[in-house]
Symmetry: C2
Subunit: 345 residues, 2 copies
Amino acid sequence: MASGYDFCPRGITRRSLGLLFAGADMGSASVGGTPERPVVTVQLSDGALRALAARVGQSLPVGNEGAGTVVGAGSSSEAQGLLARTVAIAGGAMYTQYRAADASACLVLPEGTPARTGASSFVNPLTALGMLETMRREGHSALVHTAAASNLGQMLVKVCLEEDVPLVNIVRRPEQADLLRSIGAVHVCNSSASTFNTDLTEAIAQTSATLAFDATGGGTLVSQILRAMEVAATTSAAQYSRYGSTVRKQAYIYGGLDPGPTVLTRNFGFAWSLEGWLLTPFLQSIGPVRLGQLRDRVAANLTTTFASGYSDEISLKDMLDPTVFSRYSKHSTGEKFLLNPQLFD
Amino acid sequence: MASGYDFCPRGITRRSLGLLFAGADMGSASVGGTPERPVVTVQLSDGALRALAARVGQSLPVGNEGAGTVVGAGSSSEAQGLLARTVAIAGGAMYTQYRAADASACLVLPEGTPARTGASSFVNPLTALGMLETMRREGHSALVHTAAASNLGQMLVKVCLEEDVPLVNIVRRPEQADLLRSIGAVHVCNSSASTFNTDLTEAIAQTSATLAFDATGGGTLVSQILRAMEVAATTSAAQYSRYGSTVRKQAYIYGGLDPGPTVLTRNFGFAWSLEGWLLTPFLQSIGPVRLGQLRDRVAANLTTTFASGYSDEISLKDMLDPTVFSRYSKHSTGEKFLLNPQLFD
């Protein structure tokens, strides 16, 4: 069933960067090789090198997802039906000009959709939908989300508005709060504000959120969220219990924007759970039928709810240019790069 | 159905101390009042006081569990049948000379069992059995336990030996390791040893333990355990994955011997979960039939598997004596106090 595809643009995600640069400080990288085949070298600390021992010497293909035009297909009618259509896939090894993929793995985009529009059809849209799906499956009725001004965060704001799900957005800067409010976000808390803990507790009390998705990982933010949930739960409790409230508080860490340790002060009783959350095992857990429904919803709303914005479009060669990678390795809000492997300068 | 009981000795647990002293530094306590009715006063920090705002002005009865002779009973045949028997209960408010309790809540001890033997029939034995029950319900096959030289830890060693469940014990001192080995423990790791991380990884690899119960809470120990599980899981993996192994790693924090923050370095992939664990909601979750089976098992083995050792027996008045409370508030391994409210000096 394998078909040949011309896979064009794909967004450069933090996940791909982790694989590409192994978490190294790219400010200390040096560029050698030839202009046609540049080689970037960067030193890893001893500790980081030990942690990465299992990948030393391995050639690892990069790129989670992308979209492109089908330029060749196998003989099956399913594969033949895809010829000349724009499709998106999330199969790894996407930083390439041509990519073979199973026909069944292709998300067929509406006729006329440019590849650029479909380049980020999987990870962010399905993560946003996956958060809501997790919320319902585990019996919660509202969400807390951190790093909420990201492309993903903006999708989540839109999806929650569509489904009338209360959402508490946590951002780091006032302009990020303004951005989210401009697309309809109701509860936005700025973690840099001196009133943050009070603001967060108030927003959680208003929404009864007992589930959080955290993209930062490091620092005290998850602990502050669990504490705010606990304070919101106990404020109305008549009886003091030294074990805390019986309200179940759940937080998932799904990213590591802050690579430092997660610090939990545990001032939120015993009815809490903190877990890692990854898209792929989650999608496996919901089964192919439900996954198909979610994918169809994404395809039908790629230019509205699930639209991704890009600040720059770069070529494969640009990726190894120090003036370019020093920018895209910074993970700044508002800067999102699109890799176009068919771009030549 | 309420019956009158003469409730004698009960162990002084860390949980009761948290309620009694509110986590205050008892080294700075002063004793006033009269010899007959001493009053202990201790200063709380502003932060601690804020955290305890909900209990200010409340009179809170103390004592999780105890045992004693039934000296009076209601008219029902169930209650009458308990007269003159030794029973144990875990109903709170146990630091008292007489205690009324529901007949159905009484664990009837074998004829002739002294109250002292039954004083700790609930919390430690059912916690040890609860850990094994949790292990089976969640599909794990081996356990890691911290602060493993405690009374509870020794019970867990015995129960795991009886059921042939591999157990990795973590202690802080060589003499605690010796103690556990003397009662049959196979895997004992000393967290103060320079080889601790290697020792722990080796023991986890040998036992395939993917579930840990941690009594300490604070510090990096939970993180080290999850890391050791991850290393054990990936050592044999052929392919490097930047998301870590797919082996599910679970840790429960069930105590707070170290009141400092829990510090997670998150170098253990995304397939992990850290949760609070409390005995009471766990027992509610397994239902009355299974709880009855566990209770019967405890009653039948109180002098063997579930025997508790006490270093001291003290009176209610002793509890407020500074030379005594400075000792029992220290939580030292090997020192366990039995409160006997019928003791007068």
